[in-house]
């Protein structure tokens, strides 16, 4: 059987064209944004909000919740007090005591007539037992699975919701790093109980947090959340100014990455970073160096021996030598995984949320973070940083060079090559 050559060529071209269409749809565009120095933070604030497609809302109150011991009891209290609606969105949903307890709380409140909406990521909850979801469903809890693993959604497979949000009655909001799994209980005391940080807020910003929750909820269920019980008119409750950061977008530059870069561009005195997955790119390194050069103390804390992803750690090492050489303080936490995603800028502006410092968080996943402009909140987070530092080993440039031999460097580079997906 002879196949003419032109048929083979046409067949090859068809595959090539389809492959090209697919690649151009899914590829990350190599954005190299140019962030100028922002000398005056207050003056730059409307620009920071405008460039990240949000506005600064005044009159909020923030309460930092540390680890599972701070987070879950606060949640239970707010769930128990809910009168109208409980909304919860999370990536990790893994069976265990805390998961069961949350499910029981949802079931109990749904039976009381409170509207309960639970959004879990299909990938993050893949160890779920369907029996639990059926029980939730039977009690009247509305459960939505984000980007279900079905054939028709195969092109969305890589895009997960990594957001961790809770909203009660549209009046209390949580923005956190915690997942719902045994690792997030306790007080960060050992390698099985992780360190994490969230924030409980009241005030006008809760409308914006609800708005982020509503995005995925509408996408998956078509239900539009309207009315006072979801978006009440919110009076000021305190002095903190806040802005929400959400979303990723393959075709344009990530709002969250831009915010991180603008934070590096505006810092004048001190910058604290805690992040479990810290894989900076060249542009970020350049901004860090510029900050150090103008006299900023930069302290970065990453996980040490306890990590759930050694590949990420290695990829992060790629620029450690360079950072240490320019005078950045790097710490590795020894006791447990520090999972919190924290930024503290000049004792004033801080960030709490779900966003890792890597391309997966910036460009692929759906994330949610909260910017908080409040000296009290910054002081609380700084104190926690100081406490964590007691369990850290500070890396030194000389020691790093010895530890980081040829073989180590090669592994780092190999891992860094994967960084687009990490």
């Amino acid at each position: 059987m002879e196949v003419p050559i032109w048929v083979l060529v046409a067949m090859g071209l068809a595959i090539g064209l389809l492959g090209l269409m697919l690649w151009t749809n899914l590829r990350e565009r190599p954005f190299r944004v140019k962030v100028p120095d922002l000398d005056d933070f207050e003056q730059a604030l409307p620009s920071i909000a405008g460039m990240t497609r949000t506005v600064i809302l005044e009159g909020n109150t923030a309460e930092i919740v540390q680890n599972g011991d701070g987070y879950f009891p606060a949640l239970w209290k707010d769930f128990a007090a809910a009168r109208e609606a409980i909304h919860y969105e999370t990536f990790v949903w893994e069976r265990g005591e805390v998961c069961d307890r949350m499910a029981e709380a949802f079931i109990a409140r749904a039976r009381d007539g409170v509207e309960v909406r639970l959004m879990v990521d299909a990938m993050g909850s893949n160890k779920k037992e369907p029996e639990l979801f059926e029980r939730l469903h039977a009690a009247g809890v509305k459960v939505a699975i984000y980007h279900p693993l079905s054939l028709r959604d195969i092109g969305q497979l890589n895009k997960r919701t990594h957001r961790k949000l809770a909203i009660v009655d549209g009046r209390v909001g949580y923005v956190c790093g915690h997942g719902v799994a045994p690792h997030w209980t306790g007080n960060g005391q050992d390698k099985d109980h992780w360190r994490d940080t969230g924030v409980r807020v009241t005030g006008p910003i809760v409308n914006a947090i609800q708005s982020v929750f509503a995005q995925h909820w509408i996408e998956e269920t078509g239900e539009v959340l309207v009315g006072e019980k979801h978006f009440p008119h919110l009076e000021p409750t305190g002095d903190a100014r806040m802005h929400i950061l959400a979303g990723a977008n393959l075709a344009s530059f990530s709002d969250l990455e831009l915010m991180f870069q603008m934070a590096l561009a505006t810092v004048q005195k001190e910058l604290l970073i805690q992040n479990p997955y810290f894989i900076p790119d060249r542009d970020t390194i350049r901004l860090v160096k510029r900050a150090v050069a103008r006299g900023v103390d930069v302290h970065i804390m990453v996980p040490g021996p306890v990590t759930d992803s050694p590949v990420v750690s290695h990829a992060g090492h790629r620029y450690f030598g360079e950072l240490l050489d320019c005078g950045v303080h790097l710490y590795e936490h020894q006791k447990t995984l520090t999972h919190q995603k924290i930024l503290v800028i000049d004792d004033l502006w801080c960030h709490v949320g779900s966003t890792n410092f890597d391309d997966r968080s910036f460009d692929i996943n759906e994330e949610a973070g909260l910017g908080i402009i409040d000296p009290a909140c910054a002081a609380t987070l700084k104190e926690a940083f100081e406490n964590d530092r007691k369990n850290c080993v500070e890396l030194k440039a000389d020691a790093w060079k010895k530890r980081c031999g040829f073989r180590h460097r090669m592994i780092d580079r190999a891992c860094y090559l994967l960084s687009g997906q990490l």
């Binding site: 151009t24 140019k34 509408i218």
Partner: protein, 437 residues
């Protein structure tokens, strides 16, 4: 062809047939797999959005802001600009008075004297040291005069072409920016339907001079208009615009509450689609729609009918024979009978193309912008419309609607039912391709 044939022809063996069949099956599987992934990555996750009843508009305002990602900002001064005769002179005045920066984004940049005037105005200011940024859609501006673009570039105007046709971006080719925005010094914002072309000059007097509407705004919402401009500017140029000259702190300037809604095809349900659906749902007395491309989907038709049933007086004004896209016009006809049966008044504007995209809800809440009432605007393109909550503004737009209605004989249900078979066929055929037009 130089296909080398074996010297001795021999019969194909059974084994070779199995191999070639396996290869063929394999090939088809790969092609189908790629098509599936591509479709899945691109497909608009079909949104059967259920908007609950909205009884009290004021109470629903935070919901509307939250759902469309656009805060409602009080204290804006708004001026309505009808047709080219009011729009261009105002724009030229503000361009001439700019102290720091001029930003303009548009889809259409075709031909005509007006293009030269805009180009020279921008070039003059750029030469005087004003930062001028111009975002042009690569498709919408491809018939523009290259000399004018060169003139502007030489004068120092920064021009960004949105989604230029490049091999590595072929997957984005269908996504155009249809937004029409101008921002001067970060303090004055324009949101409009006008393109930069001869058709948009004049005052809608004849077929060659179209009818359109824009607004000029001063006040806090201008920060958000700038933010919408900055989105596509950064996407194309990587330039992050920060500082007082782009995002100043803006004092209150007038009585109008405003919210700027922009949408882009990435990720989830379109914000403008949601906004339009919420607007229809919230109407209690009267809903006026003027739109040049009106192809509502089943859900929007359902919401319009529900509104009509609860006593909302709905009037829709569309282009008649003067249109730049008769396919769109015919596709729109598809649902006319159903709408007319529900008592929704439809009329076709006779004099010229009415290109304005206006909606007025209950004499209070109005929309002006770039967004057509079809799937291309609501799901594919980048669009921007501004919502204005103010009885005075709604009153002015309503008066303009009434004036337009005078050259607009209404369509009666009976006359519509007596259309020829051919007309019906064209309508159906046009509707079938409606997602892309």
């Amino acid at each position: 062809m130089a296909t080398v044939r074996p010297a001795v022809s021999r019969r194909t063996t059974g084994r070779e047939i199995v191999i070639s069949r396996t290869a063929a099956v394999f090939y088809v599987a790969i092609v189908l797999g790629l098509i599936l992934i591509l479709w899945s990555a691109r497909r608009e996750r079909e949104s059967h959005v259920r908007v609950p009843d909205i009884d009290r508009f004021e109470e629903a305002l935070p919901s509307i802001a939250g759902l469309t990602g656009a805060p409602i900002q009080a204290g804006n001064r708004v001026e309505i600009l009808q047709n080219g005769d009011e729009f261009f002179p105002a724009l030229f005045r503000d361009i001439a008075a700019a102290k720091e920066s001029i930003h303009l984004e548009t889809y259409v940049w075709w031909k005509g004297e007006i293009c030269g005037q805009v180009a020279r105005a921008l070039a003059d200011r750029a030469r005087q040291g004003i930062e001028v940024r111009l975002t042009l859609d690569a498709v919408g501006s491809n018939q523009g005069d290259g000399e004018l673009f060169d003139l502007m570039r030489k004068a120092g105007v920064h021009i960004a072409l949105f989604h230029p046709p490049r091999l590595q971006d072929i997957g984005l080719f269908n996504n155009r920016t249809h937004r029409k925005l101008a921002i001067v010094d970060g303090r004055i914002g324009y949101v409009f339907g006008h393109g930069i072309a001869e058709e948009w000059t004049g005052h809608g007097q004849d077929e060659k001079h179209w009818r359109d509407t824009g607004v000029r705004i001063e006040g806090p919402v201008v920060n958000t208009i700038q933010s919408v401009f900055a989105e596509n500017w950064m996407e194309q140029t990587s330039e992050v615009i920060v500082g007082e000259k782009y995002f100043p702190r803006l004092p209150e300037m007038g009585p109008v509450r405003a919210h700027m809604t922009a949408s882009s095809p990435q990720g989830g349900v379109s914000r403008l689609e949601l906004l339009f659906k919420i607007a229809i749902t919230s109407a209690r007395r009267e809903l006026l729609v003027q739109n040049p491309y009106f192809i509502p989907d089943g859900e929007i038709v359902g919401l319009l009918e529900k509104a009509a049933q609860r006593g909302v007086k709905i009037r829709v004004m569309l282009p008649g024979a003067v249109t730049d896209s008769s396919v769109v016009r015919h596709a729109g006809h598809r649902r006319f009978e159903e709408l007319l049966e529900h008592g929704i008044a439809i009329c076709e504007y006779k004099k010229t193309l009415n290109h304005q995209k206006i909606m007025i809800v209950d004499g209070l809440w109005s929309f002006v912008g770039s967004t057509n009432f079809d799937d291309r605007s609501l799901d594919i393109n980048d669009e921007a419309s501004v919502g204005l909550i103010d009885p005075g503004i709604a009153g002015q737009l309503r008066a303009a609607f009434e004036k337009d209605a005078q050259s607009c004989p209404p369509i009666s249900l009976e006359a519509w039912r007596q259309r020829s078979l051919w007309d019906r066929f064209v309508d159906r055929a046009s509707y079938m391709i409606n997602e892309q037009i």
